[in-house]
Amino acid sequence: MIPLQAAAMALVAVFALAVALTRDLVRLAMLSSLYALTLVVLFLVFQAPDVALSELVVGGVAFPLVIVVAIVMQRGG
């Protein structure tokens, strides 16, 4: 296991804890995208470019959009 993989895994562990512990919803939207980015780096280092591409487009576009819309609708209601 090369040091690059160890560093990527440490980042993923830290961001997973951050996503579970945060309470503010706007920060949660941002943090979930950042967690998806760390997962992309981890998947690339595990030699899986297809999976990394999939997680990148989903975590960068689709997931934040639905979360932000849900947050705005919660505030407005």
Binding site: L53, S54, V66, V69
Partner: protein, 244 residues
């Protein structure tokens, strides 16, 4: 059950679960010493048999094509669920004109949307050759339409994505996958068996029915995600129009 009691119960059971899980994964082979024969066999024969240089796409659409049929039907069903929950008869006049006021953002956004559309089509078309495929490229194409909303008018976005067209394209994608399997049966082999001209590995027209299934999945995924975005954004614009 109070909150404190629930969290205490969770702490006890989660430590037990974590201990059991760690003991379970300690029985796996060492990280990096992969021993299963199926994966190693696939690496040696996949390019020769199917003429697809991206072995992952060959697995998704050919060797494990039946699982992909199930996965895309999950996607289809959950988009139907979202449409059922959020789509209702809405008053046309009560819709707010949701316009981005900056021309610079609009211009840059349209440039990005065009670029993203081309990138999405490139990723879809090169599925059997390089990393990519219908799933990834479909989401990129849907993202191009979402940028049209973010950079401009909500009404412009709705004009670009008419509801009947989206429903039709998604149905064609999901049903087309199942029908291609039946064509394979009519040609005398098993359901979803590879057929068609195999071509030269590394060119765009290769890998037989993998390319056709790739396009069906790309149609379905892009239409499904645009429908998803439309349902959510419609709900938002109705809520803003009612002044809530």
């Amino acid at each position: 059950m109070t909150r404190q009691l629930r969290i205490g119960l969770f702490a006890v059971s989660a430590s037990g679960l974590a201990a059991l899980l760690l003991w379970a994964v300690a029985g796996l082979p060492d990280f990096g010493h992969y021993r299963q024969r199926y994966g190693l066999l696939l690496q040696q024969v996949a390019v020769g048999e199917r003429h697809a240089t991206n072995v992952v796409t060959a697995v998704v659409f050919d060797y494990r094509g039946f699982d992909t049929l199930g996965e895309e039907l999950i996607l289809f069903a959950s988009v139907i669920g979202v449409a059922l929950l959020l789509r209702e008869v809405r008053d046309e006049a009560a819709r707010l004109r949701d316009r981005m006021r900056s021309d610079a953002v609009g211009l840059i956004g349209i440039g990005f949307a065009a670029g993203l559309l081309v990138l999405g089509l490139y990723v879809i078309a090169h599925g059997p050759i390089t990393p990519g495929g219908g799933f990834q490229g479909g989401v990129v194409v849907a993202a191009a339409f979402a940028i049209a909303y973010l950079a401009g008018d909500y009404r412009a976005y709705r004009r670009l994505t008419p509801q009947p067209a989206l429903d039709f394209v998604e149905g064609v994608g999901a049903g087309g996958y199942a029908v291609v399997g039946i064509v394979s049966m009519l040609l005398g082999s098993a359901y979803l068996y590879n057929f068609g001209p195999l071509g030269e590995p590394g060119t765009l027209a290769s890998a037989g029915s993998i390319s056709i299934l790739n396009i069906a999945v790309a149609l379905e995924v892009s239409a499904a995600f645009v429908l998803l975005f439309t349902e959510f954004l419609e709900e938002l614009s109705v809520m803003r129009a009612q002044g809530r």
